[in-house]
Symmetry: C2
Subunit: 323 residues, 2 copies
C-alpha cells in the first residue's frame, strides 16, 4: 500500500504543468476572466479527477503532452460545472473559499462558466482525439441532464435506482470519463478503455456516496452547514434510502413514500439523528466499498506498473474519506 | 441575382434535416429540456448561419451528412449563447416570443444553455474533424471573452477599433466559423478555408452593423424597445461613433469623450434624433456595404456553382435588412 502523500508528491509536477497549460490557454482573455480563473485554480481541491487521468495515462505510456492536456481539460470541465452549480444553488462558499457568484454578478458568473467550458473543449480538441471529444461532450450532456432532472423532480423521491442514476450523472460520469480518456489517448484497445470506464464509474459512485455520508457525519462547523442538509433540501441520499428500506412503517418514512417530503414543521433534526443511529452509515460505507472493489477489479487489465499500484492505493486509502 | 425566397426554398429541406438531427440528439434528455429545445427551435429565426454552412458545403461538394451535422452544431452554439445572453440581460422577448428565462428559473435557463453547448460539441465531434472542433471552441472563447469585456468596460467607450473588436467577438466570429467549417469538412485547401473565414467575418460585421442601425431606425412598436436603446444602455454603436467623429465639439460628444456617458437627466431622446438626422445612418450603411463587398470578393476562390451565386445574392439582397 503506497502512502497517499507519496502519490500526490508523484503527480505534483504533472499537476503544476497542467495548471501552466490552463493558464496559457487563458492568457489572451480579458483580465477579469484571468483573475477569476486564477482564483478558481488557487482555491483548488485535491484534483482527484486529473490525477486519475495522469496515473492511467502514465501507466499506459501515453504521450506526456496529451496526458497533461487531457487532464487540464477534465479539470476545467469539472470547474465549469461547479461555477454554474454554485450560482444555481446560491452557494457562497466552496472548500472554505468564497464562490465566484458570492463576489460577481450572476451574469459574470454564467459567462465565466461558459468560458471554462469553451477552454475545456479547446484543450480537449488539442489532444486530437475525436473519441475523447465525443466522450467529453456526452459527459457534459449527462451531467447537465441529471441536474435538470433533479431540479424538476419532486422533492424526496425515494428509490435506490433513482439515487444511483442521480449520482452517476452528478459525479460518476466524469470520473468514468477521466479514466476512459486516458485509455483513449494511450491508444489502448477497446477492452482496456471499457475496463477503465468501469473503474472510473465505480469509484465515482463510491466518491459520491462518501460525500453523501459526510453530510450526515461531518463536523457542522467545518462543513458550514447543518447535518443532513441534503434531506432538509428534499434530497434522499444513501443513508436515508437505507433507513427507508429498513423501516418501511416508520411514520416519517410512510409520509415520504406516500405523500412526498418532510415539511419544515416536523422534527427533521430528530429524524436525521434517527437515521444516523440506525446503522445506516456503516451500511452505506459497505456499499461504497463494494463499488471500490468492483472498480479495482476492473484495473486487472492494466500492466502492473507503479502508477497502477498508486491508483489502487489512492482509491483504497481514500475510500472512507471522500478521497 | 437570385430571389431570396428561392434561396430559402432551396435550403429548406436541408434545414429540416438539420432540425431532425438536433431533435435526435436531445431525445434521451429529460422531458423539460426537450420541451425547452422544441420551443427554441420553433421560434427560430432565419437560420442565416447554418444556411451559410450548407451553401458553402454544397458548393464544395462536402459529404452531405457532415454538412448537416456541422450546420446543426453551428445553430446550437448560436442558440446556447442567446439563451445565456437573454438571461444575463434579463430580456423577456426575442423575435417576439417569450424568452426561456421569462418562463423558467435562472437555474434552469443556465442549465439549458449548458445542455445546448454540450449538444453542439457532441454534434461537432461527430463530423470527426479536429480542425472544426478547434475552431468551434475558439469561437466560443471569443464570444464569451467579448461579453465579459463588454460587461466590465466603462459605459460609452468610444472608438471605431473598440466597436469593431466588439462586434467581431459578438457576431462576426461565429459567421466566420460558419463559413470556415464548411471549408474544413469539405477538405478544401488552406487558402480556401482562409478565404471562407474572410467571407464569413466580413459579412458578419455587416450583419451586426445593420442590426445596430436598426436600433436607430426600426419601428419602436415592432422592436419592443425605444429608439437608440443601445446608447441608452451606454453602448456606442456605429451611428453614434460616426456622429462622435463628425462632431467632436458637440457638448454631449465632449462629455462622452472626456468624462464618460450620458446621464439619465440629459435629453437623450433629442441626442438620438440628432444622430439620426446628421447622415450617420447612410454613412453606416456605406461601411456595411464595404464589408459586404470584401466578403463577396473573398468568394472568388470558390467554384462557380449555383450555391455560390446564392451566397452572393443572399448577402447582397439582405445587406440592408440585417439578412
Amino acid at each position: 500500500m503506497i502512502n497517499t502523500s507519496t502519490i500526490f508528491d508523484y503527480v505534483r509536477p504533472d499537476l503544476l504543468k497542467m495548471e501552466d497549460l490552463i493558464r496559457q490557454q487563458m492568457k489572451e482573455s480579458y483580465v477579469d476572466l484571468t483573475n477569476a480563473l486564477e482564483l478558481l485554480l488557487s482555491s483548488g481541491g485535491k484534483r482527484v479527477r486529473p490525477t486519475i487521468t495522469i496515473l492511467v495515462g502514465k501507466c499506459l505510456k501515453a504521450d506526456y503532452h496529451r496526458i497533461i492536456t487531457m487532464a487540464g481539460s477534465i479539470e476545467l470541465l469539472h470547474t465549469a460545472t461547479l461555477v454554474h452549480d454554485d450560482l444555481i444553488d446560491g452557494s457562497l462558499l466552496r472548500r472554505g473559499s468564497p464562490t465566484l457568484n458570492s463576489k460577481w454578478s450572476a451574469g459574470a458568473t454564467v459567462l465565466t462558466g461558459d468560458y471554462l467550458f469553451a477552454t475545456a473543449a479547446r484543450l480537449s480538441s488539442e489532444t486530437a482525439s475525436i473519441e475523447a471529444l465525443k466522450l467529453f461532450s456526452q459527459t457534459l450532456q449527462t451531467i447537465v441532464n441529471g441536474e435538470v432532472r433533479q431540479m424538476f423532480s419532486p422533492r424526496c423521491l425515494p428509490g435506490r435506482e433513482e439515487y444511483y442514476k442521480r449520482i452517476y450523472a452528478k459525479t460518476a460520469s466524469l470520473f468514468e470519463t477521466s479514466a476512459a480518456v486516458a485509455g483513449i489517448i494511450s491508444e489502448a484497445g477497446k477492452e482496456t478503455v471499457q475496463a477503465l470506464s468501469t473503474f472510473g464509474r465505480e469509484i465515482g459512485m463510491a466518491f459520491q456516496i462518501a460525500d453523501d455520508i459526510l453530510d450526515f457525519t461531518g463536523d457542522e462547523s467545518v462543513m458550514g452547514k447543518p447535518k443532513g442538509s441534503d434531506l432538509r433540501q428534499g434530497l434522499i441520499t444513501l443513508p436515508t434510502q437505507i433507513f427507508i428500506e429498513d423501516n418501511p412503517h416508520h411514520p416519517v418514512v410512510e409520509k415520504i413514500t406516500t405523500s412526498g417530503c418532510i415539511s419544515e414543521s416536523e422534527d427533521i433534526k430528530g429524524f436525521i439523528q434517527e437515521i444516523i443511529d440506525r446503522n445506516t452509515i456503516e451500511k452505506s460505507y459497505s456499499i461504497a466499498d463494494e463499488f471500490i472493489e468492483r472498480g479495482i477489479n476492473a484495473l486487472e487489465i492494466l500492466p502492473n506498473t507503479i502508477e497502477k499500484q498508486m491508483l489502487i492505493s489512492l482509491v483504497q486509502s481514500q475510500a472512507r474519506r471522500n478521497f
